[in-house]
C-alpha cells in the first residue's frame, strides 16, 4: 500500500517536474508545478508530515502559485522552443543535471547513515508532524528563526511593492 502510494506520488511529482521544464508555455509550466506540488504533498504525508502537506498545498498551491498564474497571464504566454537555448547550454545543461543526480544518489546510497535503509523509527510520538507539535517547536525552540522569517516576509512584501508598484508619473527611466 505504502509502496503504491509512494510510486504513484513519485511518478506524479517527477512528471510534474519534467513538465515544468519541458513545456513551452510558461502558463502550462505553472500548472505543471501545481500538479507536482500536489503529488509532493502526498509524499509528505507518507513521511508523516501532515501539517506540512497541508501547508504546502495551502501556501504553495493556494497562494504562491496563484501569483505565478497571475504573472504568467499578465506577461502573456511567450512560447519559446524548449531546447533552442544557448547552443552550449543545450547539451551542457542536461548533462550537468544528470551528473548532479548521479552524484547525489551515490552520496546518499553510499553514506554511512544507519537509518537510511529503514523506514525510520516506528516509536515516534503520536503528534509527530501535527500542527500542534510543529507549532510548539516553532514558538519554543525556533522562536528566533520564526521571527526572522516573519521579518523576511515583511521585507519581501515591501520589496515586491516597490519593484512592481506603478510610479506616479510613469517616467521612462533609463534602462
Amino acid at each position: 500500500m505504502v509502496e503504491i502510494a509512494f510510486f504513484a506520488g513519485a511518478a506524479g511529482a517527477i512528471g510534474g517536474a519534467l513538465a515544468v521544464v519541458l513545456l513551452k508555455n510558461p502558463f502550462y509550466s505553472v500548472l505543471a508545478l501545481v500538479v507536482h506540488l500536489v503529488f509532493l504533498a502526498g509524499i509528505f504525508l507518507l513521511l508523516r508530515a501532515q501539517f506540512l502537506a497541508a501547508a504546502q498545498i495551502v501556501v504553495y498551491a493556494g497562494a504562491v502559485m496563484v501569483i505565478y498564474v497571475f504573472v504568467a497571464a499578465y506577461v502573456g504566454g511567450i512560447e519559446e522552443p524548449a531546447f533552442d537555448a544557448h547552443p552550449r547550454l543545450r547539451i551542457f545543461g542536461p548533462i550537468v543535471a544528470a551528473a548532479l543526480f548521479i552524484e547525489i544518489s551515490i552520496a546518499v546510497a553510499g553514506s554511512a547513515l544507519v537509518g537510511i535503509g529503514t523506514e525510520g523509527p516506528q516509536d515516534i510520538p503520536d503528534d509527530f508532524g501535527t500542527p500542534a507539535a510543529v507549532g510548539r517547536m516553532l514558538l519554543d525552540d525556533f522562536l528566533i528563526a520564526f521571527e526572522a522569517a516573519s521579518i523576511l516576509l515583511l521585507l519581501a512584501a515591501v520589496a515586491a511593492i516597490v519593484l512592481a508598484g506603478r510610479r506616479g508619473s510613469q517616467t521612462q527611466e533609463g534602462t
Partner: protein, 99 residues
Amino acid sequence: MSIEWYLVLAALLFAIGAGGILVRRNPVVILLCLELMLSAGALAILSFSRMLGDGDGQVFVLIVLVVAACEVVVGLGLVVAMFRRRIPLDVDETTELRG
C-alpha cells in the same frame, strides 16, 4: 519504503530543477525551477526528519516555505517590473551584470 527512496527522489527532483534553470530562458520558468529545487530540498529534509524521528526538520521546512514565498514575491516583482519597462523576458538579454 526505506528512506533511501525518498532521498533519491529528492535528488532527482533537484537535478531536474537545476537542469531546467540551465536550459530555459524565461525568467518565470526559471523561478519555477527554483521552486522545484527548493521543494526537493524540503523533501530531503523531511526524509531525514522522519529517519531521525525528530520533528525539528519540519520546522525547518516550514521556514523554507516562507523563504520560498519571499523569493517568489521578489522574483515575480522583478518580472513584472521588467515587463513594464519593455525589457524582453529573456535572461540572456539582461546582461547588465557584465563586468
